[in-house]
């Protein structure tokens, strides 16, 4: 992974990660779901790394494996070069301070019986970072950081809207001074206008605290906007891993191409018939032989059914798992030509931003 960015240091690394569910004990069903099946990746310090794929591709499982929230069936996770699988309770607790997660549904992940102040203070107390008035000050500061009011500390999660709840979740994740935060679909449950606020907040916090972000998501526009590198997953495997702009400008894997082609482009002038993927995603309990994408791939040939393609590195340092990526990349499918906003829209957006800034400086700042 570090081939194209040798100077950067790897903060978190997954090595041959495998997670199978089921098939275990006497009472569990005999079908084995191969949620994650041999994934290796390395997250560089300070970058925003995105993991993208459709439901059931194993992206959330991978996110949890990277934090050791679930134990892998096989493989290893290295944090700063050291395996986190062998850590004891005390060491693991220290690790949890540095690696944090934000969940998709901000309501389900906040304890409804705890006040917001207690929710945010819990990691501070747990790690013994501060006590008494110092702790309260820290909570106040955290709430301000994420754009909430200090008075909100006495309220309960149900009193907040979805966007505000996500802010609470972020404040809690920040409480232990983390080095890396994994966001598991952090904005997909939110309305568009709120989503933009949270995206901006995450980016501000990343700059301010020098965080590394791993974003697990399905929304490709959000990923293009936020991330430096992207890993595309299909049925438990990484099929392509590349710098964001390169991936969107010239997708190599046919699945990436199909994924990009399927995004509705927000410009009515660009309507055109699309080359669509046929059929549904096969079950991860019985993935197809050979290349797992061959059942839906428009370029599939006999060899794809029999031979599993390795994740090979291209001359320009990208990674792709396809027997025929060299031929396919010229097919022209996929790459998105996003239309520039119309002159009228650009003009009004500029006007909107100007007035918005003026409003922010006039009133109390709000992210």
């Amino acid at each position: 992974m570090s081939a194209n960015t040798p100077s950067n240091d790897t903060i978190l690394e997954g090595v041959g990660l495998v997670k199978h569910f089921g098939g275990g004990g006497l009472l569990s069903s005999s079908t084995v779901v191969r949620a994650v099946d041999g994934v290796s990746l390395a997250v560089q310090s300070g970058e925003t790394f995105a993991i993208v794929g459709e439901s059931g591709c194993g992206k959330s499982t991978l996110g949890r494996l990277l934090l050791r929230l679930i134990e892998p069936t096989d493989g290893d996770v290295l944090y700063k070069g050291r395996s986190i699988l062998g850590l004891n309770q005390r060491e693991l607790r220290q690790l949890r301070r540095e690696l944090q997660i934000i969940f998709q549904d901000p309501f389900a992940s906040l304890n409804p019986r705890m006040s917001v102040g207690d929710i945010v203070a819990e990691p501070i107390w747990l790690h013994g970072l501060a006590k008494g008035s110092e702790k309260r000050e820290r909570v106040t500061e955290l709430l301000r950081t994420v754009g909430l009011l200090p008075a909100h500390a006495d309220r309960y999660p149900h009193e907040f809207s979805g966007g505000q709840r996500q802010r609470i979740g972020i404040a809690r994740a920040l409480a232990g001074d983390p080095k890396l935060i994994i966001g598991d679909e952090p904005v997909s449950a939110l309305d568009v206008s709120i989503q933009a606020q949270i995206i901006n907040l995450l980016e501000d916090l990343k700059d301010r605290f020098g965080l590394t972000l791993v974003i697990v998501a399905h929304d490709l526009a959000v990923i293009r906007h936020m991330s430096d590198r992207v890993a595309v997953m299909y049925l438990g495997e990484i099929v392509e891993l590349s710098e964001t702009d390169a991936l969107f400008d010239n997708p190599l894997h046919p699945y990436t191409q199909a994924l990009l082609a399927a995004i509705p482009v927000p410009s009515p002038a660009r309507r055109q018939p699309k080359a669509l993927l046929q059929g549904d995603i096969p079950s991860p309990a019985a993935p197809p032989s050979g290349c797992r994408f061959h059942t839906r791939c428009p370029h599939a040939r006999p060899v794809c059914r029999d031979q599993h393609p390795a994740l090979e590195t291209t001359p320009d340092g990208r990674k792709v798992a396809c027997h025929f990526w060299r031929e396919i990349q010229g097919a022209g499918a996929g790459s998105i030509t996003a239309p520039p906003p119309s002159p009228a829209l650009s003009k009004r957006l500029a006007l909107y931003r100007t007035w918005r800034e003026r409003q922010d400086t006039a009133v109390a700042p709000s992210p």
């Binding site: 206008s193 606020q197 995206i199 199909a258 410009s267 549904d280 998105i336 909107y352 992210p367």
Partner: protein, 353 residues
Amino acid sequence: MAHEATLQHAREVGGSGQLSPSVEKPLLNVQGLSIRFDGTPKDINLVDDVSFSVGKGKTLCLVGESGCGKSVTALALMGLLPTPPARIVSGTAEFEGQDLLQLGERERADLRGDRMAMIFQEPMTSLNPAFTIGDQIAEGIVRHRKVSKAEAMERALEMLRKVRIPAPEKRLRAYPHEMSGGMRQRVMIAMALANDPQLLIADEPTTALDVTIQAQILTLVKRLQEETGTAMIMITHDLGVVAEVADEVAVMYAGRVVETGPVEAIFEDPQHPYTIGLMGSVPSLGRREGRLATIRGTVPPVELMPKGCRFTPRCPFSDAKCANEPPPLGEIRPGHRARCWYAPLEEKRGAAA
């Protein structure tokens, strides 16, 4: 077919009395629809003065964020809104020459699933898990047509073919849980279109689906629309989907239509500050161009709703006039309307520093 002929006739008769005979009479014309819910402050309608129309065979997109009243509006049109707590305060909804809001329960039931049909976001909760797909499609056909069960099943099979479900004979006897989300949504569409409705209301039909499946469903809907000439109201929050399917767009905010017009006008020349903010909030698919423009804050709760324009507290351009006087849905260009005192913004808000 017979229905279409009658409708054609009705339209010609109705159309002759219009001021401009060249303009086709819309299939559905909603004017000044206001809906109130029991338990909310008296003077505030959750859906307030909503007007739009849908032409025959055309697609109107109702766009807005959660709680803006787009689904409530659709349910009111379908006659599926429970009273109490919902009360229709005022307005008309003319569909094929009759006011939907004046019809009795029996007449509404005759229309539903026949002349107008609806599909929902989550196909699993709208299908009955205890009956086969075939039974559920046939049920609606038997209810509205004088046909035998066997004929209805035949029609159900034809519908499954129409929505491109593989192995339709087998699927006819399948139960909803045996199908994927995308297939279930196809079944819902088959069910909705079984009686050749004139109007299909689709409430976030692809929101729960993956992006590749969403593309399949949108393409299918478009193709079916071309085949059958059904008009559609698509409710969505996804501007990408709007750009793909809409002919006309109505942007809703906090229960009011704030901007309406042809899809090109809305995307190329948006007028209302909310529409502009919404466009700025969506990350572009192109190379990154700095931070997203955001709309500050959240929708105020009902009891704090401003008297005037409901977007006032979040609008960068707002002033005291906005807070106190509700702006009219003024025409900017023919067919393009915006509910803002200061539209077009560059004229009325451009020079001021």
